[in-house]
Structure formats: structure tokens, C-alpha cells
């Protein structure tokens, strides 16, 4: 019985933290965010060097074979630094391939994911979040048609894992004939999402029959990783707000000595601290407590969506006017949290899924 991070986990998180501090300081984030597509080869390379994309790839295929908790800790640190590098996409693709891929697919792709050479986008928004604009991908005789929206880690993907409306999974090369890729720009310019339109595109199915379970696992793990991303970003905003309040003077005293400002910070901390435990628990449950996996992932996603919104707004308020300018770059974390909230199931949707997972209502 032990509910704490291991020394290895702490060291791994620290190491990523220091690396990102070095390769992606605020000025670099600002440059990246000004690009058309968010790409930062040196950040991606640094992550690969640390083994980040290998975290969920089995050791047999050149990965680290670690757990979702480890992946969540990395995700938290990426959120903390508003890091621009594919992560959720490759992680979920590794899961999909490992669960449903043929031996050949695994042998080809998993090592490339682990080394960081191939990044993947994942197109599971419709099953995970519900279909907007009646989007959806139909598969017939190994060929795909239709539309997939809000594809995660879109920009640098060598290939995509695509869920169809019947619950099948497919691997589609980024340059497949008939595939139209359109980047979608969001408030968060440190990560990329996009749209895929399939005009009778040849795709490789992932052959394992239990692809529905794999989609559910991708959704659940993806939710945990996004919740962790928000946790890191929100924690950073709180820390920055507390530090700013200790320096900024108004009315002859530091604003952090005003009870109103102190209470705003206390409320953020009081919301974040149990949220951190929830993220750890949900991440742990993905591997260790399968009966609770969907439930806790949905709750972590929804709850961090709400807590993140509260912290993003409240921390900005502590800063006052300067917080809404680009000068201190606080808004990059604000927007990161805003995107996390909506991807792979907004809070309302995730809560509904939590209720379904307990049999309270029908799906």
C-alpha cells in the first residue's frame, strides 16, 4: 500500500522539467506559437532523447514499457512548460498498435514511435467526444471515406490511427492518396489538431477484433494524459501567481498580503491539490484497476477541465492587467488548459460517460 511517486518517477519528471526549461523557455514558446504550424524539432528531439515517446511502447518493441502513470507525469510536465511536441498522439497510437495491431504492424511502427522517428496522429474525436458537423469515417472493403475532426498531434504525423463509425481501427499513411489534411488552428498554438477528409482512401486495418475496447482504452488514457497536461499547466499558473503576488506592490504593500489575493491563491491550491491525487489515481487505475479505468479517466478529465478553467482565470486575475498581455506569456498556459478541456470529451460528456460506466444510465 503506497500512494506516492517512486524515486524513478520523480527523477524522470525532474529530468524532463530541466530539459524543457532549457530547450523551450518562454521566448522559444512565443516563437513557436507564432508559426503557422506548431513544430519545434529541437523540443521533439529532446523528448525523444529522454525516451518520452517510448514510455508506453513495450520493451520488446524498443520502448520503455512503462505505465500510464509514467506517461501522465510526462504529460504534466509538458503542460507545465506548454511544450510543443507530439505526445498524446504517439502514446495513443502505441496503445492501439499494441492492442490491435498485427505482429507486422507492431514490428514496423512501434520502434519508430519509441525512437521518436515517426509521430502519429489519432482520429478518435467522434467516438470520444461525439460527432460535430455529423463527421464520421466509414470503412468498406479496407477503404475509408468521410471526415474525422480534431485529430490530435496532426502536424508532424507520419501516419494516423483512425477509428471508424463501426468501431474499427485503421492505420493511414499521411501521404495516402485521396487523403486531404487540413490543419485546424486553435487558441493553443503549441499543439496541433487537424481534419482528415477521406476520399476512398486505402487503409490498413488493425486486425484484432476487439478494436472497440482499444478505442475505449485510447479514449481513457488520452483523457488521463490531457488531465495531467492541465494539472501541470494549472500548477504552473498558481506558482507564478504566488510569486508575482510576493513582488508586485500596490498601495504600499505587496499584493500577496491582501486577504482577497491570498484567498484567491488558497482557493486555487485547495482545488489543485486533490485534483493532483485524482490524476495519479486515475493514471494508476488504467493499468492496475481495470474495473475503474473508464470511470476514473472520465472523472479526471472532467474535473481537471473545471479546476483548470478556474485556476486559469483566477491566476490571471491575481496578475491583473499584465496577465492578459503577452509580456509574461501567462496566456500560453491559459490556452493550453482551454484546449485540453475540449479534446476527447468536454466535462459534460466525460461525466456522462462516468455515469454510463457505473450502469447508472444506458449509453
Amino acid at each position: 500500500m503506497d500512494f506516492a511517486l517512486s524515486p524513478d518517477q520523480i527523477a524522470m519528471q525532474d529530468s524532463l522539467d530541466r530539459t524543457l526549461e532549457r530547450v523551450a523557455p518562454l521566448d522559444r514558446v512565443r516563437q513557436i506559437a507564432a508559426q503557422d504550424l506548431p513544430t519545434a524539432p529541437e523540443v521533439r528531439a529532446a523528448l525523444a532523447e529522454l525516451g518520452a515517446p517510448a514510455v508506453l511502447v513495450p520493451e520488446a518493441h524498443g520502448g520503455l514499457g512503462l505505465g500510464v502513470l509514467d506517461a501522465a507525469l510526462l504529460s504534466e510536465t509538458l503542460g507545465r512548460h506548454t511544450a510543443c511536441a507530439p505526445f498524446v498522439g504517439p502514446c495513443l497510437a502505441a496503445l492501439a498498435l499494441d492492442l490491435c495491431g498485427s505482429e507486422g504492424q507492431k514490428a514496423v511502427w512501434l520502434p519508430l514511435i519509441a525512437s521518436g522517428e515517426a509521430s502519429f496522429g489519432v482520429a478518435i474525436s467522434e467516438p470520444a467526444s461525439g460527432a460535430r458537423m455529423a463527421a464520421g469515417v466509414r470503412a468498406e472493403n479496407g477503404r475509408l471515406s468521410g471526415q474525422a475532426l480534431f485529430v490530435i498531434d496532426f502536424a508532424q504525423a507520419a501516419a494516423f490511427i483512425v477509428a471508424d463509425v463501426a468501431g474499427g481501427l485503421h492505420l493511414v499513411a499521411a501521404d495516402a492518396p485521396g487523403l486531404t489534411r487540413t490543419a485546424l488552428t486553435t487558441i493553443d498554438r503549441t499543439r496541433s489538431v487537424g481534419e482528415l477528409v477521406f476520399g476512398d482512401v486505402a487503409a490498413e486495418p488493425l486486425p484484432d477484433r476487439d478494436s472497440r475496447a482499444a478505442i475505449a482504452r485510447m479514449r481513457d488514457v488520452g483523457r488521463v494524459l490531457l488531465a495531467a497536461d492541465t494539472l501541470g499547466a494549472a500548477q504552473r499558473m498558481l506558482e507564478r501567481a504566488v510569486a508575482y503576488a510576493a513582488e508586485r506592490q500596490q498601495f504600499g504593500r505587496v499584493i500577496g498580503s491582501f486577504q482577497a489575493v491570498k484567498h484567491l491563491c488558497a482557493e486555487m491550491a485547495a482545488e489543485l491539490e486533490p485534483a493532483r491525487a485524482l490524476v495519479w489515481y486515475a493514471a494508476y487505475a488504467q493499468d492496475a484497476l481495470p474495473a475503474e479505468a473508464t470511470l476514473t479517466a472520465a472523472h479526471a478529465k472532467a474535473h481537471l477541465g473545471e479546476v483548470g478553467r478556474f485556476v486559469a482565470r483566477t491566476a490571471t486575475e491575481v496578475f491583473g492587467g499584465i496577465g492578459i498581455t503577452d509580456l509574461l506569456g501567462l496566456h500560453y498556459t491559459f490556452k493550453r488548459i482551454g484546449l485540453d478541456r475540449q479534446l476527447l470529451g468536454a466535462p459534460e460528456r466525460a461525466r456522462r460517460d462516468a455515469a454510463v460506466a457505473q450502469g447508472f444510465i444506458d449509453a
Binding site: R132, L149, A183, E195, Q250, R253, G320, G321
Partner: protein
């Protein structure tokens, strides 16, 4: 209580509507910060007919009508209904002109007010500084008296139209030895004066809605002052309250609410109309109750103004509640739109030009700016409820 308008006002409403329909071809396009010739012509026409600068005396370029709050409201309503741009709204018109009317010299009034009203003379406001936000009176931009001029050094921030402005009205510390509220002067000078540098200030919305303005040895003749030396804090405060009242307009909230209703009627999730999603509908209804409450509060203020009664608590809460309500409306739109709601920067599938995200962020700035929510709560408690002010602190020496 009677919310019907009497015959005079019904007739006036018709008159305004007729005017707009008759002059439809002269309606100018909306543009940036600096009015076009077309806009100046439209504004001139509005002044002539009494739909702009309505109560400002004729000798200062206004229409010279007697104040009638109901008519002003009807004008605003009809222009909104007809989708026509109303009187120019900028900081020169809303803040400088009332200040000059109250405290300016006759020469200042006759030379500066008419072109400002027409839109030919564009102003910006130089109040806030990086170190002086909520505590504005601690501002540090200095104007040293060299005999003839104030020589200004320092920095202003949040100067929204600085890049487009002809002139600035600016708070400068001219009496460094006086107590902080008594050492400030209200100066007005050209933005072309040597030594002024304007740098756009990028905000989280991605646009440069504001500027920073830097002053290096900017020489301003000592005559270019409104009110007396050292009285600038009080000159500025006479109109600051006016600015605060402008934020939190319930009609803006109403318009947003209508737009969200359209979203919920037209957008779908898994084929189901968002309106049939009880969680979004319930939030919509919660906010609609607040919008109606703020509109009713606005009617109460209107009646108080007509009767020349003090607005009291109903006035003090407008900015706090109105800005928060607008922010919450934007949040609902974003949430209902889901992933479509985070699209921005002209993305494909972006809804309504990304306006909901823009508002969500810009409104957060309004909640923070122009007196933060925290300061607003102090005001409501102290002025509205008569609660005690923050006790004085022990002198610094006593702290250790």
C-alpha cells in the same frame, strides 16, 4: 411602474427610425480606430439631427438639446434595431469632452471639443502605468518644470488608441514632493510631440488592442493643462466614474444571449440539437435570468437618472455583475461548441469569426481592468454597504 412610452416618445422613436431609413445610403462602414471621411460625415449628420453630441452646447459643436434620458435611450435602441452605427464612441468623446466641459478653459472648449465630437481629432488616454494599476494614484511619470514646459519622462500602458491618436490626455506627476493624490497634473498634448514612442501591446487575444507609450524628455507647454497644477487626480476622477459605468452594458449581454440561442438551435452533437441537451439548456436559462435581471436593473437606473436620483447600489454593481455575465456567456458558447469552440485565428470551421474565444479572453481583461473585480467589491462594500475601509497599516519601521 409603467414600462410603456408615452406619445411624445413613440413619435420620437418613429422620427429616429425614419431618419435612419431615409439616410441609409450614408451609413458608413465600420473601420479601425481612426474615423474615415465617410464616418466623419455621418457623425456630423448625426450631430446636426441630435443623434450624437445631443446635449452638448451648440457653441462647442454639439446639438444643444436639453437632456432627456429617455430620448437618448430610444436613439440607442433604434440604431441598434436598425443595425446602424450610432454616435462615435471613443475616449476623447466619452472622457475628455465631459472633463473639458466641466473644467476646461473657454479656449480649450472652443478649439478642442468641436473637432473631437466630429471625429476629426482622435485622443488617447494616458493614465495607467506598469507600476500603477489598481493603485493609480501612485503613478510615476514625471513632468519637471523647466520654466516654460513640463518635461515629461516615464511610461504609460493600456493606451488603447495611441497609435491612431492625434493627442493624449495624460496624468503626470508634476509636484513630486506633494502627497500622492495631490502631485498629479492633467496635461493634454499632441502625440507628435518629439520624444513619444508608441509600442503595440499584444494581449492574449492575439491582437494588439492596447499600446505602451514611452516619454523621453517630452516638452509640453505649461499652459496645456486642464484644471490647476496638482489637481489632475481630481480632474481625472470626475470622468473615471463615467468610464466604469460604460462596462457591463446589459444590452450587449442580451445580444450575446440571442446569438447563443441560435447556436443551440443550429449546432448538433451526435445528431442531436444542442438545445435538446439539458445541461446546455439549463446553463442558458441560468444566464438568461441574469441577463433579464441586469436589463431590469438598467431600467431602474434609467428611471433614477430621469428623476435625478442617486443610482445607489443598483449602479455600483453594474460593472462587476455585467462583465462577469458577459464572460460566463462566452464560456457557455465555447462549451456548447465543444472542440469547435476552441478554433481560432481564422481556422477552418471556426464559428462566428472566433468571437466567443475573443470575448472570453477580452472580457477577462475587462473583469481585471478598469478597477479589478477585487476593487469593485471594495467599492460595493464601502460605498454601497457602508462597511469600514481597510485599516491603516503600521509604518514600515514597525513591521520588522
Amino acid at each position: 411602474m409603467d414600462l410603456a412610452y408615452d406619445a411624445t416618445y413613440t413619435a420620437f422613436r418613429d422620427e429616429v427610425r425614419d431618419f435612419l431609413r431615409t439616410h441609409r445610403d450614408r451609413v458608413p462602414k465600420r473601420t479601425g480606430h481612426r474615423p474615415t471621411d465617410e464616418q466623419i460625415a455621418w457623425q456630423t449628420l448625426l450631430i446636426e439631427h441630435g443623434y450624437a453630441a445631443r446635449t452638448i452646447p451648440k457653441q462647442y459643436g454639439g446639438h444643444g438639446a436639453a437632456p432627456d434620458i429617455l430620448k437618448s435611450r430610444i436613439i440607442a435602441e433604434v440604431f441598434a434595431e436598425e443595425g446602424a452605427p450610432g454616435s462615435l464612441a471613443n475616449q476623447g468623446i466619452s472622457m475628455l469632452v465631459p472633463t473639458l466641459l466641466e473644467l476646461g478653459t473657454e479656449e480649450q472648449k472652443t478649439t478642442l471639443i468641436p473637432p473631437t465630437l466630429r471625429g476629426e481629432l482622435v485622443w488617447c488616454q494616458g493614465y495607467s502605468e506598469p507600476g500603477a494599476g489598481s493603485d493609480l494614484a501612485s503613478l510615476k511619470t514625471r513632468g519637471e518644470d523647466d520654466g516654460e514646459n513640463f518635461v515629461i519622462n516615464g511610461q504609460k500602458i493600456w493606451t488603447s488608441t495611441a497609435h491612431a491618436a492625434d493627442m493624449i490626455f495624460c496624468l503626470v506627476r508634476t509636484e513630486p514632493d506633494a502627497p500622492k493624490h495631490e502631485g498629479i497634473s492633467y496635461l493634454i498634448f499632441s502625440m507628435k510631440t518629439p520624444g513619444i514612442e508608441v509600442r503595440p501591446l499584444l494581449t492574449m487575444t492575439g491582437a494588439a488592442e492596447f499600446n505602451e507609450v514611452f516619454f523621453t524628455d517630452v516638452k509640453v507647454p505649461k499652459t496645456q493643462i486642464v484644471g490647476a497644477r496638482g489637481q489632475g487626480w481630481f480632474v481625472a476622477n470626475a470622468t473615471l466614474k463615467h468610464e466604469r459605468g460604460m462596462l457591463g452594458d446589459p444590452n450587449a449581454a442580451h445580444a450575446r444571449l440571442q446569438a447563443i440561442i441560435e447556436i443551440l438551435k443550429t449546432e448538433t452533437l451526435d445528431g442531436q440539437r444542442l438545445m435538446d441537451h439539458p445541461l446546455y439548456l439549463d446553463r442558458l436559462m441560468q444566464l438568461q435570468a441574469r441577463v433579464i435581471a441586469m436589463q431590469a436593473n438598467g431600467l431602474r437606473l434609467l428611471t433614477a437618472a430621469q428623476r435625478k436620483e442617486a443610482p445607489g447600489m443598483a449602479g455600483l454593481i453594474v460593472k462587476l455583475q455585467g462583465c462577469e455575465l458577459n464572460h460566463q456567456l462566452a464560456a457557455l458558447a465555447i462549451d456548447a461548441l465543444g472542440e469547435l469552440g476552441v478554433l481560432y485565428h481564422g481556422s477552418p470551421h471556426q464559428r462566428a469569426g472566433g468571437v466567443w474565444q475573443h470575448r472570453y479572453m477580452f472580457d477577462l481583461g475587462l473583469i481585471i481592468g478598469g478597477g479589478t473585480a477585487q476593487i469593485q467589491k471594495n467599492i460595493i462594500a464601502e460605498r454601497g454597504l457602508g462597511m469600514p475601509r481597510e485599516p491603516k497599516l503600521a509604518p514600515k519601521s514597525a513591521k520588522a
